[in-house]
């Protein structure tokens, strides 16, 4: 009972696929760089390492959200409704790390 599909299939959007593969290589390369840093830069440069790791993570997050999740191509109102609330997270990071220092001094 072979059912012939009536739906017209459009050809592959080569530009789009190329863009996705490009993002995939970026993500793979950044992860490889993170590994390189983890094993070549000694642990003495603790805050330097942490800063670079966080920056590279944000770059990766940007590519995933902007290209894979397509947010970069949505309307500005949608972009802002998702990105701006996340500023609260930045706030929470700072108050909680400050709090951590206080707890550390209290128990040690």
């Amino acid at each position: 009972m072979e059912q012939v599909s009536q739906v017209e299939v459009k050809p592959v959007n080569k530009e789009k696929v190329k863009n996705f593969l490009r993002v995939m290589w970026y993500l793979a390369a950044i992860t490889a760089i993170e590994f390189g840093i983890a094993f070549t830069i000694p642990h003495e440069y603790k805050w330097g390492r942490i800063t670079v790791f966080i920056l590279l993570t944000i770059v990766k997050a940007y590519y995933i959200v902007s290209e894979f999740m397509h947010l970069g191509h949505e309307k500005k109102s949608l972009k802002m409704s998702i990105v701006l609330p996340l500023l609260f997270v930045v706030f929470l990071i700072f108050i909680m790390l400050y709090q951590a220092q206080a707890i550390y001094e209290l128990i040690n």
């Binding site: 983890a38 993570t57 997050a61 894979f68 949608l78 409704s81 609260f88 951590a100 040690n108």
Partner: protein, 249 residues
């Protein structure tokens, strides 16, 4: 009916006045985005809790080469996660989580290809790429199961507790790697993420099934693939952060 005219008052045609999609996204897609935003807050809270607890414990300040597990300070992650399946006893720090990261990135790529295929009504390709995405998700879950069982079983040397006895592996009270909270946070954060992957695989399977039986084709569009795609990419996104803050830093 031919005499019925549709009257559109120009004054009512403002963007937020109803009848249009002001953000050029369907209701379902918007709600998926706002769910993901709330989920992002949940994961942020968990990772910030990790930071809070980690920095309220002493850090190891000796030479990295001489690091041993102790309850006195927070462990260096690469000294804890250094095992790879089938390579027993070989010190290969972070190699296995690196592999897991690549698996998840690849499954994100196959997901995005499924979405692209859905946009051009190519049922065959949607089926193919959804299936690859599900396989990637299951592979990741398998890796995580191995990771957990290795973490719980522990290493042959074990670690010294404060009373001098040697303990192997980890549970929610004590662990050989460091302070009690280290293992608790490992279980909670990677577990919560793993549960997201599991639910993602289940949801992906449902959509795969609906594609196979032709439900989405009859509906005329494959937007459901796009919506579950958003969720799946989010799971990948969270792993990027867990990888950095739990394993690298």
């Amino acid at each position: 009916m031919s005499s019925t005219a549709v009257i559109v008052e120009e004054s009512n045609k403002n963007l937020w006045g109803g009848g249009t999609a002001p953000m050029k996204a369907s209701y379902g897609k918007l709600m998926m985005w706002f769910f993901l935003l709330s989920d992002a807050f949940t994961f942020s809270a968990l990772l910030i809790t990790y930071g809070l607890i980690r920095f309220s414990h002493p850090a190891y300040d000796g030479a990295v080469a001489e690091f041993i597990f102790s309850q006195e300070y927070w462990p260096i992650p690469e000294k804890v996660f250094d095992a790879v399946p089938f390579l027993h006893g070989i010190h290969a720090p972070l190699v296995f989580v690196g592999v897991m990261t690549f698996i998840l990135i690849l499954s994100s790529v196959t997901m995005v290809l499924a979405v692209e295929a859905g946009e051009r009504m190519d049922r065959r390709s949607v089926e193919k790429w959804m299936l690859w995405t599900i396989i990637g998700g299951l592979t990741f879950l398998g890796c995580q199961a191995w990771e957990w069982s290795h973490f719980i079983t522990g290493t042959a040397e074990g670690g010294k507790l404060l009373d001098g006895s040697v303990f192997y592996g980890a549970n929610l009270q004590i662990n050989q790697y460091g302070p009690s909270n280290f293992a608790a946070l490992f279980f909670f954060i990677t577990g919560f993420h793993g549960f997201h992957v599991l639910s993602g695989v289940v949801i992906n399977f449902i959509i795969f099934y609906q594609t196979v039986v032709g439900k989405l084709e009859r509906r005329g569009h494959y937007e459901m693939v796009e919506k579950v795609g958003l969720y799946w990419h989010f799971v990948d996104l969270v792993w990027v952060f867990v990888f950095t803050f739990f394993y690298l830093v």
